[in-house]
Every structure is written in C-alpha cells, then in structure tokens.
C-alpha cells in the first residue's frame, strides 16, 4: 500500500482539479470498427475462440437488447447514448499471444498499474491478496492461481472459464440476471468482453481476498465485464473489486453484470471501491456507470454481503441486490456514495425475501457536494412465503454546500404479515461547528471535511477488508476536495 499512499500524496499536491488516475497508457490497440451490430458480437466471440453455445447465447441477448426500451425511471439526467459511437472490443496488441508470466507483459501496462498504486509484481508478494487484473478487455495476469487451484478454487477470467469449465458457466451464467432483465443486462450479455470467474468448491474457505482491478484505457471503449462467482455448499469467499479510468473528454460507457450464487451455508462478501473518472467540475467527460449486480442466496443459511464505496463516475446507476431464496438466508448492503461537482448517483439495493426467516440489512450513506445529486433507491420485497422475515434499512444523507441534492426513495412491498420492515432516514448538512473544532486543532478545511465524512461513513467502511478500508478513507477525502471554500 506504500505505493498507493505515495500516489495519493502526489495527487494531493496537484490540487483538486486533477484526477488521480487521469493518465492513459500508450499501447497499440487491436480494434474492430465502432458500432454495435451482429458482426461485432460475432467478432468478439471469435476473438475469444468461444464455443458455439456461447456465441448463440450472445446473439440471443443481442436480439433481446434490440427489442427493449432503455430504463428511464432513475432520477438521472442521462444524455442520449449513441450505442453506435462506441468500440465494443479493444485488446492491447501485445496481449494477442497471452503472456505466460508477468515478465512477458508489456512494461507500459505494468507501469500503468504502478501509477495506479498496484505494482503487480509487488502484489504477488503481498501476502493474502490474489489479483486478477483486467486491462481493457483481456485479463493480463492472474496471480496466486497455483495456490488456489490446490484447494480446488477456480479464479480466472470468464473467457477462460468458458473454455475450461463450460459446465459451470452454462449452468450459472444468466441464472441470476436473466438476459431480458433490462436493456443494459441484455447489452452486456451480447458484448461482454471479460471479467472474473470464481468457483469455491464445497467446504472450502478461500484463504485470501480475491481481487480484481478493472481499468478502462482505450478511448471510446465501452467496457462490459461479466463476473460470475459461485460459492458451493459450506464455502466462503471475499472478493474485492477496484476500478479506475483515465481522464477523457468523451464520456465512456460502462455496463457490467455481476452475478453471485451462494449455495447452502455459503457466504460471499463482495466489496467494491469505484473511482472511475467523474468528469471535470463542469460535468464534461466521465464514465457512465450502469452496473447490474445481483446475488442469489440459493441455499438455506446462505449469506451475501455487498459493500460499496462509490466515489467516481459522471453517472452511477447501480443496485446491488440479493435474492433471498434459501430459508434463513441473509442479505446485506453497505454503501457509501459520494457525488461532487456535477456527478449524479442513483444507487441502492433490492432485497427480495422469498424463503422463510430471511433477513436483510441496508446501511446507506450518501454524501453530496458541489452541484451533485445523490439518490438512494431501494426496494424491500417480502413475498408471501417469507414468513418471519426481517429488514432493517438506514439511509443517511450528508450535504456539503447549498447547491447539491439528496433524495431517498424507499419502496417497501410486503405480502407477509409476520415479517417486519424497519426504515430510518436522516438528512443533514455538514456541521460547521465540527469543522471549526477540527480546524482549531490544525486540520485544513479539506482534511477536516474528509475526517468528518469518514466518520459519517464509518459503519460502512468498517465492512471493507483492511487494505481496502485505508484506501477508501483516502478516496473519500480526495473525492471531496474543493467542496468547501
């Protein structure tokens, strides 16, 4: 983490207009022409040497996408997206022949990661963290594979999984997020390029945090990851996802699909720190982040826990959800969403209680500064057979300045009378007296805001794995730079 800290310090020196990860890497791309059509879908599939069944699945998804309207219910001011104006596949040339080891990786790419604060070579040594790195559309390096495979754990790119573990992919891909769920889900299913695949066999507790850093590099490339995590009976896994993107004027599209399946007694903990480029202070550029994340607690006593820290993207549209099918299953959602300048975030969760004695907990902390808008939108749905189920929801919003907005939109649907749903919500302005107190102790105004906001988010941040929590705290502070005069 030393490198990360150093990067953050350097960025702190640059002042608030400079995005921490706003450089791009000069590598030759291989790209088909811009645009979205059946040929592109076929092109992607052939580039990945996919089996026939996968191509068919993609083509089916593409035809579904073409027939669907785009969702328009979120409280977002979404510019029209011209789907024909994006590249749907980009792969750094030097990866055409896949590297056998880290030494074969383009040094430029490795440098990029160094700038991001994750020197891969260091990461390999860093005890307890296995990293699967996605550079644009292709996995460049998978570390720790050997140690994990001895436990029967599969941790690889989704493309590899399609080839090497087709039975698992066929069984679970699209089983949590059906192709026709909504248009971005369909689009992702048609053109997804890469992402991670995890399988934890029965009775295995994954000994390390599995981690993937995603990075959008090539210009005008929509990025469509597909991640699938399966925790078999009595297993446990904690998965971390970190994201950054270079600074570009054109807005970029990101539409990932993440599916989690927890079988009987299994637990999946999924943590995200998202700091895609948010656009400049005028709202120019930035990532459009339309992500579908959904976990199914399929087995009895299973548990899925989402923790997210969303500080980036121009537009975030994201509702990590839990389908609580198994009896006694548990879903949790811990979220920090920070919007500054002209960022827009519409995020929350859906907890669908189907099994008996299911419980869910939602803790959402939204922070708005500048002219930003932050909406919590959550659904708690308790179905008729979900007797004795519980939900607790707490949504707190913090406003910094007078031009930002916070909105809380809870939907509660209960068809079961012995279940209980609790909802608490607060909205407050950052406390000037607290700021003054901190500054009287020598903290500058930005550090004071960072400290107070981190305190406000503590209930969420403490659910992140240690290494991530430290980085997340710094990100929280950085993303609010310039928010107080």
């Amino acid at each position: 983490m030393a490198a990360t800290e150093q990067t953050i310090k350097q960025v702190n020196k640059l002042g608030n207009s400079d995005y921490k990860y706003g450089f791009s890497t000069d590598v030759d791309d291989i790209k088909p022409p811009k645009g979205l059509n059946e040929d592109i879908v076929k092109y992607i599939s052939s580039q990945k040497n996919e089996p026939e069944w996968m191509l068919d699945w993609r083509l089916k998804a593409f035809s579904v996408f073409n027939k669907m309207p785009k969702p328009d219910w979120a409280k977002l001011d979404i510019p029209d997206i011209d789907f024909q104006d994006y590249y749907y596949y980009s792969s750094p040339k030097s990866l055409k022949d896949k590297p056998k080891s880290l030494d074969e990786i383009d040094p430029e790419i490795l440098k990029t990661y160094e700038k991001l604060g994750i020197p891969i070579k260091e990461q390999e040594k860093l005890a307890g963290v296995a990293v699967d790195v996605v550079f644009d559309s292709v996995s460049v390096a998978t570390t720790y594979k050997k140690q994990l495979s001895e436990l029967g754990i599969i941790f690889c790119s989704i493309s590899e999984a399609t080839k090497n573990h087709p039975e698992l992919v066929k069984k679970y891909l699209g089983s949590v997020i059906p192709i026709a769920d909504h248009s971005f889900a369909a689009l992702n299913s048609a053109v997804f390029t890469d992402g991670s695949f995890v399988y934890i066999p029965e009775g295995v507790r994954c000994p390390v945090e599995l981690s993937t850093y995603f990075r959008i590099n090539a210009m005008n490339t929509g990025q469509f990851e597909r991640t699938l995590i399966i925790a078999d009976k009595n297993s446990y896994v904690s998965y971390l996802e970190g994201c950054t993107a270079p600074m570009r004027d054109e807005s970029q599209l990101h539409a990932a699909n993440v599916e989690l399946v927890a079988l009987e007694n299994a637990e999946i903990k999924y943590s995200t720190v998202q700091n895609w480029y948010p656009g400049d202070s005028e709202g120019k550029g930035g990532i459009y982040n339309f992500v579908t994340k959904r976990g199914a607690c399929r087995g009895n006593n299973s548990k899925i826990s989402w923790t997210q820290v969303e500080t980036g993207s121009a537009i975030t549209w994201k509702y990590p959800s839990c389908i609580l099918q198994g009896d006694n299953s548990k879903g949790e959602f811990y979220s920090v969403a920070i919007t500054n300048n002209r960022q827009q975030a519409d995020t929350g969760t859906k907890m669908i209680h189907i099994g008996k004695n299911t419980s869910s907990k939602i803790i959402s902390k939204g922070i708005s500064a500048g002219k930003a808008n932050n909406t919590y939108r959550g659904l708690v749905n308790i179905q008729s057979k979900a007797s004795n189920s519980r939900n607790f929801t707490q949504c707190d919003s913090l406003l910094i300045g007078n031009e930002c907005g916070a909105h809380t939109v809870p939907y509660i649907e209960s068809s079961n009378s012995d279940s209980m749903v609790e909802h608490e919500a607060t909205t407050s302005k950052i406390n000037e007296e607290q700021l003054f107190y901190c500054m009287q102790r020598g903290l500058n105004s930005e550090d004071a805001v960072g400290l107070i906001v981190n305190g406000f988010c503590k209930e969420v941040l403490q659910h992140l794995p240690m290494e991530f929590a430290v980085e997340a705290q710094k990100l929280v502070a950085i993303s609010l730079e310039g928010s107080v005069g």
Binding site: Q440, N454, E459
Partner: protein, 249 residues
C-alpha cells in the same frame, strides 16, 4: 505574545465586544472572569478565527503577526489553542485517530514528517495516564457519549499533545468534580513554562487556587472593567460582579 487593542466585535448586528484591551506576554497566565453573557466565549471564538463575527474596530497582534490575516488552522498551527467550553462530538472518528491527525497537521506545518506510530503510541499513553483517561476511552469516537468532565479532560489532553504557545481555556472548570478539577489543573501547570501563555476563562475563584494566575481581569459588557493580581479574584468572590463593575466605573 498576544496584544488586543480596542476590539469591537459584533454578531448578526449585535455588538458583543466593546473596546476590549488585553495584553499577554510570554510565560504569563491571565485569568478572565465575568458574568454569563459578558462576551468571554465570543472573545475566545473570535481569537480562534470562527466565522460569523464582524470586527468593527481594533487590532490583534500575535507574535508579531496580524492574527486576523490567518485562517483558523493557521492560527492553530502557529500555536493558538482553544479548550472549548462545549467540545464537539465527532461521530465515527476514533479519539486516538483524531489526536494523531491533529499532531500530524502541526508537524506538517513545521516541516516535520508524520509522527512514528510507536512514538505516538507511547506519547499518547503517558499523557492520557496523567489525565486519568483510559485507553478504552481513546478507542471511542471523539467526545461521543463522553461525560462533561471527560470532555474537558479530553481538551486538556489535546492541549498537552499539541503543546501550544498560547492556550485559551474557556470555562474548562465548569462541570468538573473536585478530583477532575485537580487533574485538569495539574495538566495545565505541567505545561506552564517561560515561553508559553494561558488565558484562563472562569466563573469561579476555585480554579485559580490550583492554577495561580499572574493577572486577573474582569469583563463586563464586552470590555475589561478591572485588572489586578490574584487578590482581585478573592475580592470578586466576596463582593460579586455587580459591585466590582460598579466601583470600576
């Protein structure tokens, strides 16, 4: 150290300080006594640089600098410390983390590297012990669910760790039981040396038995109406504010 000349300050159009003069030299302890609403807290907030005050007239020199040119954090890092009458609660922020952040802010200002983790642990342990603050307390959120006395001790702990040149204690003695009062006073006395100064704001002569001031001032309606040595505090105890203010005019 601190030289306040003919200070006139108002809040929302309401005049609070009304031609206040006060000069504090290095190594001196001054006590400021006065009835509720006389402007004691206003003076300490204004000196610390809090927003919302308007200066109509006057000047404040701090170590050869115009204090009013400095931001709140700059004043703090230049050694001005305010022990708050009502310390703020900061939920979610561990007390020890806050203390470390404050120490590092000052070190940064002085061009020093961040404090070494071990050094910090030792420092905070010994200082907290002297003030009878448990290590459990240091793991709790800053001032959240602290008792009144615990909050005041926390202020003195922060003061000890930051070792300020000019400390203002705003009614630190209010709400303290006799043991806490003794501990807090010892904390202040330990810090006293020939290079630093204190402005001790209090209602009660009681505190001044523990922290012996070099000068005592009486404030009424936003200005100092009488100054003297420790005997003035005793006289005040005897006669009350009204009587003393009257004789001063």
């Amino acid at each position: 150290m601190l030289n306040i000349k003919d200070l006139h300050v108002s809040i929302e159009g309401k005049k609070i300080l009304n031609g206040l003069n006060l000069s504090i030299n290095k190594g001196e302890v001054h006590a400021l006594m006065g009835p509720n609403g006389s402007g004691k807290s206003t003076l300490s907030y204004f000196l610390s640089g809090k927003d919302g005050y308007e200066i109509e007239k006057g000047s404040i020199d701090y170590n050869g600098k115009n204090l009013l040119d400095l931001e709140v954090d700059e004043r703090a890092n230049e050694g001005l410390f305010l022990a708050f009458q009502y310390p703020m609660e900061i939920p979610g922020v561990q007390t020890s983390f806050f203390l470390k952040t404050a120490i590092n802010s000052k070190r940064k200002h002085q061009g020093l590297p961040e404090i070494d983790a071990l050094e910090f642990a030792k420092l905070i342990k010994s200082q907290a012990q002297e003030l009878d603050i448990s290590s459990d307390m240091l793991r709790r959120d800053l001032n959240v669910n602290y008792s009144g006395g615990e909050k005041k001790k926390q202020e003195i702990l922060q003061m000890s760790l930051l070792n300020p040149a000019m400390s203002i204690l705003d009614e630190t003695d209010s709400g303290l039981d006799i043991d806490a009062l003794r501990i807090v006073s010892e904390g202040v006395n330990k810090l006293r040396n020939k290079d630093n100064s204190f402005l001790v704001i209090t209602h009660y002569q009681r505190l001044l038995n523990y922290i012996k001031p070099d000068y005592v001032h009486i404030i009424a309606d936003g200005k100092i109406v009488k100054s003297g040595d420790f005997s003035l505090a005793l006289e005040l105890e005897e006669k009350g504010y009204e009587e003393i203010s009257k004789t001063a005019q």
